[in-house]
Assembly symmetry: D2
């Protein structure tokens, strides 16, 4: 009898804090809608950093390869506004890890209130071309 591995059954949720500053708001008083995408991208960069992936440098054993993750599509729902000085949490969870693409569920909360939900599809790009996700990265993402 094997003990179930909870990390595989329920992939870890990554949490990242974002403070709202003047630059994030617009004259309506709330955070400008496109700036939530910047917050989600910061969280994705931190997920890769936590797993040892440096998007600014090379990856996968060959110093001449440049590696990046590129957003292919998003389904986003803006549910409630965020305001100046709010301390938000970006929650990210790998939903499906395919050969060359990665699906993330991301949402942005203020305390327990969900302000935004997004389903994000990301592709792996090596030297500017679509490529399979390196095996090492897949494992690191799957194991939270």
């Amino acid at each position: 009898m094997t003990t179930p591995d909870p990390a595989r059954e329920a992939p870890a949720t990554h949490r990242f804090s974002v403070r709202v500053y003047y630059e994030d708001t617009d004259f309506s008083g709330a955070v400008y809608h496109a700036n939530f995408l910047r917050f989600m991208e910061r969280a994705r960069t931190e997920i890769l950093r936590d797993r040892g992936v440096d998007q600014g440098a090379s990856f996968a054993g060959d110093a001449t390869e440049t590696f990046g993750l590129v957003v292919r599509s998003m389904n986003i729902e803006w549910l409630k506004p965020a305001r100046m000085d709010d301390l938000l949490t970006v929650e990210s969870r790998a939903d499906r890890i395919g050969g060359a693409t990665l699906e993330l569920d991301q949402r942005i909360l203020r305390g327990d209130e969900i302000l935004l939900t997004a389903k994000v599809r990301i592709a792996c790009v090596i030297n500017g071309r679509a490529a399979r996700l390196p095996a090492g990265l897949k494992e690191r993402l799957a194991n939270g």
Copy 2:
């Protein structure tokens, strides 16, 4: 026999030009993904301006009412990158005009190449609360 009204059968497509500057790009060399949402919002502001709607001021006959359109959801596909100095076109077409929401098809092109497509759902907000689209605005949007 009635002559079909082409404006109602095939709603007018609004076209708006955007030049790509340094500020729009990131170190990957391409336009930062979230900045395409800024381009689409500029186009929506120009559609309203063309139809005589001033989002910064009041609307609909009552000077004490503040009127705004708020993005509720988007389905976005990023198909190809845009680059520094590119001259892009944002095409917008009203897809469905409901009582309190508006669905737009927006896409971003460089010449004939489609770089991004988006289905955008927008709600009308008056004095900070969801409200029905004013009748005058509905007609102006429907007639292109």
Copy 3:
């Protein structure tokens, strides 16, 4: 004989960390020059927050007053570029606290390297008009 008050003789330097993300860079590979001003503004907001000033809400004992600090002028020198993933420090020091204006020395470092220096003159605005700095705020700023 009085003991010198070190906080008055050498005003405290406030330090604030900023991580560089995709959104901050441009296609040259470095941080876009104007984005350093956003980093300095975040630091100023944190200075006020540390001293109990909420720019989003009212200030100074009268709930109907809205308080803000507005940048009047800057002398900025960009010395070296910052890059994706850099962890920067914004250092801020009150240089001169006048009746209605405040002069700050701000600089941005990566480790020991100084990337940018700025002399920033800020005015106090209450209910949208230039106003004297509230006495409580002056003391809190002077004492670091």
Copy 4:
């Protein structure tokens, strides 16, 4: 007797229009202070484009050379706020064209009202290193 060359005596002023959108404003209701620097950079890019300089591509007869202008310093005065929907003009005038640096006077107006003035020092960078301004560019800048 020589006829004075008016282009040299009073260098041409370059004018560039900028519309203010949601993205440019913050919750104070006015344009975010750092965004004026984006407007001035757009104008500088257009000056170079008008003079046949493509910052995204190579310059000066050698296809392997990448050419760019980098901001070294600015003295900026913010005089009056700009608002959503404002149509602004960025005026730029070459003040001093040196061997490796260029000084511009830039200002931002709404109609006749001056909202911002800036003295901007720019350096020429070829292949990532400070370099002399190419002679062709100097002449094109000097002659407006």
